[in-house]
Amino acid sequence: MASKTENQKAWLFVLPVVLLVAFNALIPLMTVVNYSVQETFGDNVFFWEGVKWYEQVLNSERFHDSLLRQLAFTGTILIIEIPLGIAIALTMPRKGPWVPVCLVLMALPLLIPWNVVGAMWNIFALPDIGLLGRTINALGIEYNFTQQPVAAWMTTVLMDVWHWTSLVVLLAYAGLCAIPDAYYQAAKIDGAGSWAVFRYIQLPKMKRVLTIAILLRFMDSFMIYTEPFVLTGGGPGNTTTFLSIDLVKVALGQFDLGPAAAMSLIYFLIVLLVCWVFYTLMMRNEEV
């Protein structure tokens, strides 16, 4: 039996990456932990505060509200984007000249920078000069996303759906293309209808890619900042102030480093928990 070759020198090649990660990720994270237990009034003078900021953030109505808004937003876009993405993927051709056309069209929104998407939708939805805003108002529906919370929410959700459904489409499409023809032939012989084919062949075969799609969309939407910031600036009032926008307001607007650091870590822990849950689910799928 051949013994496994061990080369301890390999560690030296890993060392630069370890140092780089320590410098740009690990030490900054440690700094955030360090700031979360202190208070500063500038001039690099810090005072020990213990767990005061954590307690303040956990009991803060403002944090609860932005967390709830964030969860509501993420839930809403997942409910829309996942079924819509699957539906579009199902209607896309698998063979022929239209395949590249569809793929390019689907990929286009993903290529646009987030701040450009925000600016585009801001102009598009303006009630006086925007195509969408003006059309809705012309239909007799009063619509102004800069003043009406419901309109602001709908516009933000619509913008996200426009920007990111393509990702779900492309993933679901990849899952669909990976299903061998033999499955469809067997279904045809058994006389299965299109619903049965979807329910018992396509959906189970897409399970893995859909888990990844849900994970990616959850994480991205849970950390969304640029698009709603450019579109609504968190307003009107605080109605579209999601967690990251609130965090930036605390950290940079108010320069409350301590509470902002505590909030970041709670935010980070929630993200880490969700990642772990999805990872566990994915691994379970792999085993099945």
């Binding site: 932990v33 237990v37 500063t40 810090f46 956990l58 822990l269 880490l272 691994m283 085993e287």
Partner: protein, 93 residues
């Protein structure tokens, strides 16, 4: 080198030293008993010692936050619950 501008505190150092010690202990454990000790616990998923440490630490963080939110300071109760949680995870997960 002077790191005073980074305003490090002893409790922060203690916290990260604890994490580092946990990792070193896991390395020693792995060296003594290689393979990671995979098993299927109540999650019905194969977990290694490293997975169990991660679940313990993440769960403990939430226990502390929950304690702080509901019971406020001091955190001794949260610490006791976290220790129980860690024992539970290493025994049954």
């Amino acid at each position: 080198m002077d790191f005073s501008w980074m305003a490090w505190t002893w409790p922060t150092l203690g916290f990260f030293s604890f994490i580092a010690l946990c990792l070193i202990a896991m390395m020693v454990w792995e060296w003594k008993d290689p393979g990671g000790g995979p098993r299927r616990g109540i999650l019905t998923l194969e977990t290694t010692r490293g997975d169990r440490l991660f679940i313990s630490l993440l769960g403990s963080a939430f226990i502390f936050l929950g304690w702080l939110w509901v019971m406020s300071t001091p955190l001794w109760g949260g610490l006791a619950l976290s220790l129980l949680w860690i024992v539970f995870v290493f025994r049954y997960v």
